[in-house]
């Protein structure tokens, strides 16, 4: 990242009493015992930032006490946390804004971290907006990049705005903690190190269910099998308007099947009703980070690009040699996706099955 331009017009000195705020926290998002992977991505990222600053990484795990919750605390260490704040109370079993906000406000005020990170998920965004208000501090939304400016040891949080057409870097200079939410899958998943352990700080907030106005009547889990699990796919074959008509989507499904991957699409296809919203990749859809992204008949508009450009390898197929997608794809093929896709399905199929026999 290049140097910051000096912000103008206001005072940006950190008041003396806020200088004691130390360490980088990640609020670990767990719902019904399973952790959203963005939390581990953030612990990995926090590790890098903390090493730059020479401070500790804290993971905050909230919920009702249970073996699953203990396992999550252990996982936090293996992904890079130095200390886990384990906050348990039966009232915290299900996510509700009010008790989570009260507890987090207290814990932050007690232990004083300088940076607090959350996933930009439905839970993370709901909670972050509330606690930034109770803590009267700055919050940068939906970041795609985090860094530390060493001259003043401040968090530089970069995020897209105006529909992804612009990026901006935001700092919180005179307030603590500095808060940010980060989109899932933009940071890489850290490697596990099972030998790592650390300190556990137990917090018992002593909440009363009677004090909580919002009640969870029930929880309707998504029928997971029917929903595309795009955000976590290692291989994605994606289709754009260049495929011409909905029937041709079969070509990407066939290739995805041979590769054991998922199918993604651009927004116009969702809007035209070719497929459901859960397959949309991009600014208003999912952010993905597969090992291989095959983009067929996709022009590479910025709103699509921000959702997939972190893929390890992007192979673009487009009839137009000047399509913007070739400016950032790794491999390009100029040609007709309608004939190349079936040929790719064949070629991959042969290559992979030959080896299966040989292996």
């Amino acid at each position: 990242m290049s140097e910051p331009s000096k912000p103008q017009g206001r005072k940006f000195q950190l008041p003396e009493h806020l200088k004691e705020y130390k360490g980088i926290w990640v609020i670990v998002e767990q719902e019904r015992g399973s952790v959203h992977s963005v939390s581990w991505e953030l612990v990995g990222e926090a590790r890098k930032l903390a090493d730059k600053l020479g401070v500790e990484v804290g993971a905050v795990v909230l919920g009702a006490d249970s073996p699953e919750l203990n396992a999550i605390c252990g996982d936090a260490f293996t992904y890079g946390a130095d200390v886990v704040y384990k906050v348990t109370d039966p009232v915290l079993a299900d996510y509700r804004t009010d008790p989570y906000t009260r507890v987090m406000t207290d814990v932050v005020n007690t232990y004083k971290p300088e940076i607090v990170l959350l996933g930009a998920t439905t839970l993370g965004r709901d909670l972050a907006g509330a606690i930034a208000t109770t803590l009267a501090t700055g919050l940068t939304a939906d970041c795609t990049e985090l860094d530390i400016y060493m001259d003043n040891r401040s968090l530089a949080a970069t995020r897209p705005t105006f529909g992804g057409t612009l990026l901006c870097t935001i700092q919180t200079l005179a307030y603590r903690p500095q808060m940010a939410t980060v989109r899932p899958r933009v940071m890489s998943m850290p490697d596990r190190d099972d030998s790592r352990t650390g300190r556990v700080v137990e917090v018992f907030p002593a909440l009363r269910e009677d004090d909580v106005i919002t009640k969870v009547l029930s929880f309707i889990a998504d029928r997971e099998q029917n929903e595309a699990q795009l955000a976590f796919a290692d291989i994605i074959v994606a289709a754009g308007k260049g495929l011409g008509k909905p029937e041709n989507l079969k070509l990407v499904f066939d290739l995805a099947k041979v590769l054991g991957g998922e199918v993604g699409v651009t927004r116009p296809l969702v809007q035209a009703g070719w497929t459901g919203f859960d397959r949309q990749v991009g600014q208003t859809g999912k952010t993905v980070r597969p090992k291989l992204y095959i983009a067929a008949g996709i022009s590479g508009a910025i709103q699509h690009r921000v959702g997939m450009e972190k893929s390890d390898l992007i192979l673009a197929i487009n009839t137009d040699p000047n399509a913007p997608i070739f400016d950032f794809a790794h491999l390009g093929l100029v040609g007709d996706a309608l004939t190349i896709l079936p040929a790719l399905t064949d070629a991959f199929g042969k290559r992979l099955s030959v080896n299966r026999l040989a292996g």
Binding site: S5, P7, R10, E29, E31, R32, S34, D94, T97, D98, T101, T121, T122, R125, D126, A128, G129, A132, T133, A136, T137, G138, L139, A141, D142, A156, P160, T161, F162, G163, T165, L166, C168, T169, I170, Q171, T214, L217, I220, A221, D222, D234, I235, G260, L292, V306, L313, L315, D327, F328, H330, L331, G332, L333, D336, A343, L344, A347, L352, R356
Partner: protein, 288 residues
């Protein structure tokens, strides 16, 4: 029942262009619209009005030209409109914005107690989704974000049951009024305005309030009241390197066949990306 719907006027992001030389946003000629996500919330408020009866007030903070968005909302069926406008508000971040809006909602509550505040899920320009939660927290209202459905609302018992989208499913929540709700996109279809509402909207004398009208403290609004500092705005950098075009050998032919292209692409992946190739093979072997 008194419902306040917060709407923001935003540039139509589909039409925003970046100046090729200065890398700044070219706003000239870009039409201003009501933030699309706010319309789902406005519609939901109007449905409550239709069903159980309510006064719907729309509130916006912005420059004087934001008036057009308020008139649009009135033409759709809102009863009252407040334009909160003051140069001192300029440069507010979400903490300061939610403070300013809350000061106006408090003032509205003096006239008639506010039971429900609706906000959009997020905007298409700032895109933070933080103003709604900021308002709820300041007002001490229950906060209900990403609502897909309002199942029931009981005015007598002051109870509301909603469906809330979470990452892994849907939470069915019961809570008490007052509360702040943000609706998820696509939850309802926005109505066309009625003729008489359109006429009324054109004639309506909107309330125009400033910092002093609502009693907002100067230190808590505008740049002074904003903890966040935008230190840099820039256009996403193109990747340093353009795509390597897959070399296709097709002796004799003018244009290579699809088979030749596919073979070359597979070769490019297997030949130059050993890690990925191993991964693909392992997946195939595991029958994924």
């Amino acid at each position: 029942m008194h419902i306040v719907v917060c709407i923001k006027q935003v540039p139509d992001s589909a039409q925003i262009r970046i100046h090729p030389v200065t890398n700044t946003i070219m706003r000239q000629g870009v039409p201003a619209i009501i933030n699309p996500f706010d319309l789902f919330s406005l519609e939901e408020a109007l449905r409550i009005k239709d069903k159980v009866g309510a006064r719907v007030t729309v509130l916006t903070m912005g420059p004087p030209m934001a008036e057009t968005s308020l008139r649009k909302a009135l033409s759709l069926g809102a009863d009252d409109a407040v334009l909160l406008t003051d140069r001192k508000f300029a440069g507010s971040d979400t903490l300061a914005t939610s403070y300013a809006l809350t000061s106006a909602i408090r003032k509205l509550s003096e006239e008639e107690t506010v039971d429900l505040v609706f906000c959009g899920k997020q905007t298409v320009d700032g895109d933070t989704a933080q103003v709604g939660p900021g308002i709820a927290t300041r007002l001490g209202f229950q906060q209900l974000t990403y609502i897909t459905k309002i199942e029931s609302i009981d005015q007598g018992a002051r109870e509301i049951v909603v469906h809330r989208r979470s990452e892994g499913g849907v939470q069915v929540l019961k809570t008490a009024l007052p509360c702040m709700i943000t609706m998820l996109e696509g939850t309802n279809t926005i109505r066309f305005g009625k003729m008489d509402d359109m006429f009324r909207a054109a004639r309506y004398g909107l309330k125009t309030w400033n910092k002093d009208t609502t009693g907002a403290e100067e230190m808590k609004v505008g740049l002074k009241g904003s903890p966040t500092v935008v230190s840099k705005v820039f256009v996403p950098k193109p990747r340093a390197q353009k795509a390597t075009m897959v070399e296709v050998e097709s002796p004799g032919a003018e244009t290579p066949t699809a088979e030749a292209q596919a073979a070359a692409a597979v070769e490019a992946i297997f030949g130059t990306q050993p890690k990925l190739a191993d991964e693909l093979l392992a997946r195939a072997a595991a029958g994924l």
